[in-house]
Amino acid sequence: MNEPLLKIENLHAVVAEDGSEILRGVDLELNTGEVHAIMGPNGSGKSTLAKVLSGHPGYEVTDGSVTYRGDDLLELEVDERARAGIFLAFQYPVDIPGVSIANFLRTAVQANRPGEEVDIFDFQEELLDRMQLLEMDPVFAERSVNQGFSGGEKKRNEILQLAMLRPALAVLDETDSGLDIDALQVVAAGVNKLKEDRPEMSALLITHYQRLLNFIKPDHVHVMIAGRIVRSGGPELAEALEAGGYEAYRGETAGV
C-alpha cells in the first residue's frame, strides 16, 4: 500500500481568540480516490476540522500533525494548500460584491497553474464545459460571487469552483445543509459527476445528517464526538446512526 494522500495524527486545535479546545486528538487516514464521511452531532468539531485542514486563521493547531502527500500540510499558508490540491467547499461562503464568478474563477484557475498563461478562450471553453456537466445556465457565471444567492445557488457556485480547480482532495463542509434538500442534491449530484469524471479525486464529506450519504456513497464513515473520531466503519455505520442517533456514542467520550 502506498502512503495515504492525507494522514491526520493526534490533531489538537483551539480557537485562536480564546484558546478553547475544539479538536482533541483527531486521527484519520485517507487514500487517493476514496470518499470519507465524517458525521457527528452539533459542536463535535467537524467544521473546525475542515477549516483547520485549509488553514483558517481563526484556529491554532496545538498538537499533532497533518501529512499531505508525505509533506507537512500545517507548514503551508492557506493559498499554498489550495494550490497543492486541497479544496474546501464552504458551508456558508461569503459574498464578494462586484466580482463575477467567471472573473473570480479565471483568477483562481490562473493562480493554480503558475508558470502557465491561462488562455482566455480555453478558459471560457472549459468553464462552459464544466457548467454543462453540472447542468448550469452559463448566465450564472456573470453574477457577482455569492451576492444575493439562495442556499442552493451558493452550493452550485462551490461545486462549480470544485469542478474548475480539479483538486486532489475535496473537503465538503455540509454540516447544516441537510436542512435544505435542494442544496444537498446540488452538492451530491455535482460530486458524483465530478467523481465519475475524475475517479482519482478524493473527498471528505462533513455532515450532520445521514441524508447526504443517500446520494453520495462513502467508502468510509467516521463518527466524531467532542473533537475526536470515536468510531470508523463502512457505509453501514451511517445507517446505524440514522436509526439510533449519536446517543450510543456519547459514552465513548466520557473517558477523554
Binding site: 485549509s54 493559498d79 464552504f90 464578494i96 462586484g98 466580482v99 473570480f104 493554480n112 480547480l165
Partner: protein, 471 residues
Amino acid sequence: MPENETVTGLGLEEYKYGFVTEDKPFFKARPGLDEDIVREISAHKQEPEWMLEFRLKALKVYRAKPMPTWGGDLTQLDRVLDEIYYYLRPQEKMERSWDDVPQEIKDTFEKLGIPEAERKVLAGVGAQYESEMVYHSLKKEWEDKGIIFESIEDGLRLYPELFREHFSTVVPVSDNKFAALNSAVWSGGSFVYIPKGVKVDIPLQAYFRVNAERMGQFERTLIIVDEGAEAQYIEGCTAPVYTTESFHSGVIEIIVKPNARFRYVTIQNWSNNMYNLVTQRAMVHENATMEWLDGNLGSKLTMKYPSCYLVGAGAHGEILSIAYAGDGQHQDTGGKVVHAAPHTTSQIISKSISKGTGRATYRGLCKIYEGSESAKSNVECDALLLNETSRTDTFPYIEIEEQSASVGHEATVSKIGAEQLFYLMSRGLAEDEAAAMIVRGFIEPIAKLLPLEYAVELNRLIELEMEGSVG
C-alpha cells in the same frame, strides 16, 4: 532613446508646439506671484484687454480671500505658494530630461506596461506624436460636424464671442480662493463647443489634443454643449503623473443646454507631494443630463467636489467618484448638487479606499431650493478601509427648502473581511491578489462605466497598490 528622434523626418515637428504662436515676447519665468506675472502671462498669450482685466481682478479677489480652514490641512500651503512658478512656457516645461524622473515613477510605468513614448509624456519629458496623428484625423471628423475642440488659448483667440459669453459664468471669480487664483493665472486646458443636436460617439480626449500643455498647473476648461447635443470628454490617465510642481488648481466649467447630455471623465493620479485643489462645475439646463465620473488617486491632498447646478426643469445630474488614499494621502472629495428647478433629479455615488495611513473624506452638499417641486436626490457613499490605521469620514450636508422634495442618503464603511480573504485564498489566490480582487469588486459599479483601457489600467494600478498592503 533621445527625445526628439522619433519625429525626425516625419514632418511632425511643426505640431510639437503647435498651440503656441510663433512670435513670443520674451518671457522669463520666476517663482512667486504678483501683478507683473499676471500681466506677463496675459501679454505672452496676446490676450484681449478684457481678459487681462479679468485676471487682475481675480488676483485681488484671491489675495482678499482667506485660506480655507475646512477640508484638508492647508497649513503648509502658503510656503508652497511662495515657491512655485505660476507660469512656464511649454518649452521650459519640456527641458526636464528622462534622467531626472525618479526611479520609483519609472518603475511604476514599467509595471503598468506603458509604452516608452507614452511614459515620457506622462513624466512631462516628451510629446506623444502618434496620438497627435490620431487627433488630427479625428479633428477633421469633428470639424465637419461643427465641433470646436481647441486649447483654451486658441478658443479665446478664434472664438472670442462664444468664449466671452460663457467664460466664468459657471464658476465666478469669487467662488473660492483657488478658483480666484486659477482665474488670475490660468494657462492650458480645453475649449469645447458641441453644436445643437450634434451627437458624438468617440469621446473627446484631452489626451489627444495637448502635449506640452497637458500638465498645466492652472488649467482652465470651458465646455459648451448646445441644445440636444450629446458628447463625452475624457481627461487624464491612471498612470502616475510626475511633475516637479507641487500645486495644481484647475477650473472646469461646463454648460449643458436644454435636452443635451454630457459626461466628463477624469482619472488623475498625482505624485504624492501634490496639493490638488480643483473646482469642477456644470450648469445643467432644462431636461439636460450631466454626469461627472471622477477618479482621484495619489497627491498629498486633493480637495475636489464636482458639482451640478440643476437650473432647468427636469435637469438631471450624476456624480460618480472613486478616491484612493494611500499612505500619508488625504482625499477630501465628494460632490455637490444644487436643485433650483422643479422635477430635477440627482445622484451621487462615492467610493473611497484608504490604505495605510491614508484618509478619505466624503464631503457632499445637496441643496434643494424652494420651488424645486418634486426634486429627488440620492447620495450613496461607501468607504473601504484596508488597515487599522486607515481613516474615513463622511460629511453629507443636506439643505432642503422644498417640502415636496425627497432626499436619500446611505453611507457604508467596510473593512476587507478576514472571511473574504480566507475564502479567496482557499481558492489559491495569494493574499495581495485576494485583496486586489476585493478592492476591484468594490469599485466595479463605477469602474465599469469607464472606457475599457482606463478600466484595465485602473485594475493594474490597484494590483500594484495592493502589493504588501494587507496585514
